[in-house]
C-alpha cells in the first residue's frame, strides 16, 4: 500500500481529533484569533446584507481573516475529495444501516448520502426540510448561541468556559431529540 492509498482511508479519531485541536493554538499564534466558524455567516451578512440592522453594522473588513479561513475549508474539502477520496463507503454501525434501509437510504459512498442530499430532493418536502430548514436552524441557532461546534465545543471548552459547556450540552440535547424523535418522521416522507 503506497502513501496516498494509506491517506485515502478514513483517518481514525485519535489522529484527526488531535489535529483538529491544533487549530486552537495555530490560530491564536498566527494572530490572536479565536477558533470559530459560525461568525463567518455573520460577517457575510454584514458585508452583503447589513440592511441597517445594528447587529450587522460593524467593520467586517477587520474580520476578513475568518472569511479567508472558511474559503480555505472549501478548498480543503475539494482537495480531500479529489486527491484523498475514500474509495469505500462510510463504515457505519449495522443498527444504523438497518434503520436507514427502511427509508431507502442504501448508498453510503461520498461525503453526504447522495439519496438525501441532491438537487432533485431539494424540491421535495423531505429535501426542503433537511436542506433548507435544517440550514436555517444551523445559522439561526449558532448565532443565537454565540458559536458552533468549533467556537463553543472546541475553542470554548479548551479555554474552560462554562457558557460553552452549557451550549455544547444543549447542542447535544437538540441533536438527540432531532435524530431519535423527529428525524424518523422526516425520513419517512417521499
Amino acid at each position: 500500500m503506497n502513501f496516498i492509498e494509506w491517506l485515502r482511508q478514513p483517518w481514525p479519531w485519535y489522529v484527526s481529533g488531535p489535529l483538529i485541536g491544533l487549530m486552537v493554538p495555530v490560530l491564536l499564534i498566527m494572530g490572536n484569533k479565536s477558533f470559530g466558524i459560525s461568525s463567518s455567516l455573520r460577517h457575510i451578512c454584514a458585508a452583503c446584507f447589513p440592511a441597517n440592522i445594528s447587529f450587522f453594522k460593524y467593520d467586517w473588513t477587520k474580520e476578513l481573516w475568518n472569511l479567508f479561513l472558511v474559503s480555505g475549508i472549501v478548498v480543503g474539502g475539494f482537495i480531500a475529495a479529489i486527491l484523498l477520496a475514500n474509495p469505500s463507503p462510510v463504515q457505519i454501525n449495522p443498527a444504523l444501516t438497518h434503520e436507514l434501509q427502511q427509508y431507502g437510504i442504501t448508498d453510503y459512498y461520498g461525503s453526504a448520502p447522495h439519496q438525501l442530499f441532491n438537487w432533485q430532493t431539494l424540491f421535495s418536502l423531505k429535501g426542503f426540510l433537511m436542506i433548507v430548514t435544517g440550514g436555517f436552524m444551523v445559522g439561526f441557532g449558532t448565532r443565537y448561541a454565540g458559536g458552533c461546534t468549533s467556537g463553543h465545543a472546541i475553542m470554548g471548552l479548551s479555554n474552560l468556559q462554562l457558557p460553552s459547556l452549557i451550549a455544547t450540552i444543549c447542542f447535544m440535547i437538540g441533536g438527540f431529540i432531532m435524530a431519535n424523535l423527529i428525524l424518523p418522521f422526516i425520513l419517512q416522507l417521499k
Binding site: G31, V74, G139, I166
Partner: protein, 172 residues
Amino acid sequence: MQTEFVSNEIQRDDTDFEVRSLDTSCINISQLKHPWWHNFKYAIAGIFFGVLLVKAEVISWLRIQEMFRLQSFHMYGTIGSAVFVGMISILLIKKFNVKTIYGEPVVFSQKKFNKGQVYGGLIFGLGWAITGACPGPIFALIGSGATVFIITLLSAIAGTWFYGKYRNYLPH
C-alpha cells in the same frame, strides 16, 4: 482617530448579548494592522482544517446520526481529543506566555452566560442532526462536491440574518 471612535461606539452598542465575535475583533483591531494578504495564512489553516474534516468523516451525515444514536465512539473521540489538545495548548500558551508570530501576547476572551446559549444551542442541535453539518462542515461539503449544500449555506446565512434582525425580541 475618528474611525476608531466610531467602531468603539458600534461595539458598545453591540456586545451586550454576544461577547465573542466583536470582543475578539476588538482585540484584533486594537493591535497591529497588516496588509490584507496577510490573511492568506488563515486560508492555509482553513485548507488544513477542511482536509481534516473530510478525512475524519465528521462532515458525514451518517457519522452524525451514529453520534446522536450512541452507536459509535468516533465523533466523541474526535471532538474529545480535539478539546484535549486545545486545552493543553492553551495551558502551555498561558504558562510559557507564548507570543503570536507578530510578538503580541495571546489574549483570551471570556464568554458570558446568556439564555441564548440554551435556546440557540437547542435550535442548532436540531439543525445539526437534520443536515448532519455544523457550519465548518457545510463549507467542506461544498468543496467536496456535495454542491446542494450551497443551499444549506445560503439558508444558514438567512438564519443568521433573521437572528440579527429579531434578536431584540428574543430572550437572552
